[in-house]
């Protein structure tokens, strides 16, 4: 069984209003010194077979096609 983790984040130039709301909430809870928060998504995908190059390519294709919107997001992918 191959296991992959894909982190999807808004591109740095895209306003992350949800991350900003979290950043504003933290000091109210007493967490000082928060310089910034970005919010993203994490996907965990399990595939039959080994975590070889072909499997990695398939997951990359999934991320490009569906998991991330390349217009506004970037993704990082790793096998675990």
């Amino acid at each position: 069984m191959a296991r992959f983790v894909i982190d999807v984040m808004l591109k740095p130039e895209i306003l992350d209003s949800q991350g900003q709301a979290v950043a504003r909430a933290l000091p109210r809870l007493g967490f000082q010194g928060v310089a910034g928060v970005r919010q993203g998504k994490r996907f965990e995908i399990e595939l039959d077979g080994p975590a070889d190059e072909a499997a990695t390519e398939r997951v990359r294709k999934m991320a490009e096609t569906l998991l991330a919107n390349p217009v506004i997001e970037t993704f990082e992918l790793r096998a675990e």
Partner: protein
């Protein structure tokens, strides 16, 4: 013989019936289409209605984009079929890359529901020819993912080629760049609009009847009415 305008229903669509009603009030024949069908049944135009297809899971419109009927629709739109995407329909059009850019969470993070004033900036598209350029109309808006964004190059191109179809006036309800409420593709047959003209077609239920022009526009285009 009048124009047949398809309205695609996805799981989670909300405004398909209102869209069909607006089509009928404009004088065309609404044709209900189900997302899992494989054929567009020879309709002359298509409306992608508002709502929350697939619960907005992943991203608004991201899963609806891969519905079986969308393959047919994307091909037909490239061949010139008039398509109007309203709200969630606009999000589906962006996810399908029929329109550039993306719709993200409102900068206020609040769901917005109000009567909204718009200015029709381009009255030459298949869906806006019943209006005059610069005409202001009031129609409802209701969304949480309505903030239109695109990179600067795309924005510049939209602006310089007249592809901003409608712009928010008085208040920008969702933080959209350049106050953009709607855009079209290069050919002008595909229009995406965040506000809801189909909810402004009858005095009893709408803030105005000024939304009807989107639907009478397509009738004009198709049958010269």
């Amino acid at each position: 013989m009048t124009a047949r305008v398809g309205v695609i229903t996805f799981p989670g669509s909300l405004d398909d019936r209102d869209a069909a009603r607006a089509v009928r009030l404009a004088g065309a024949e609404p044709v209900p289409l189900w997302h899992a069908e494989a054929e567009l049944n020879d309709v002359d135009a298509v409306v992608l209605p508002g709502g929350f297809s697939y619960g907005d899971y992943l991203r608004a419109g991201a899963i609806a984009r891969f519905a079986p009927l969308m393959d047919r629709l994307v091909a037909a739109a490239h061949d010139g079929l008039p398509v109007l995407g309203i709200c969630n329909g606009f999000q589906v059009l962006c996810e399908s890359h029929l329109l550039p850019g993306a719709l993200t969470r409102n900068t206020s993070l609040h769901f917005v529901c109000r009567a909204q004033r718009l200015r029709i900036e381009n009255a030459a598209t298949d869906w806006t020819r019943a209006y005059e350029e610069g005409q202001e109309i009031v129609v409802p808006i209701k969304n949480i993912d309505g903030c239109y964004i695109a990179d600067q190059e795309t924005l510049d191109e939209l602006e310089s080629s007249g592809r901003v179809v409608a712009r928010y006036v008085d208040v920008n309800p969702n933080g959209s760049l350049n106050d953009i409420a709607g855009i079209c593709n290069e050919a002008g047959n595909v229009v995406g609009l965040m506000p809801h003209p189909e909810h402004a077609v009858e005095a009893l239920t709408g803030p105005s009847t000024e939304g009807l022009g989107f639907f009478s526009s397509i009738l004009q285009r198709l049958v010269g009415a």
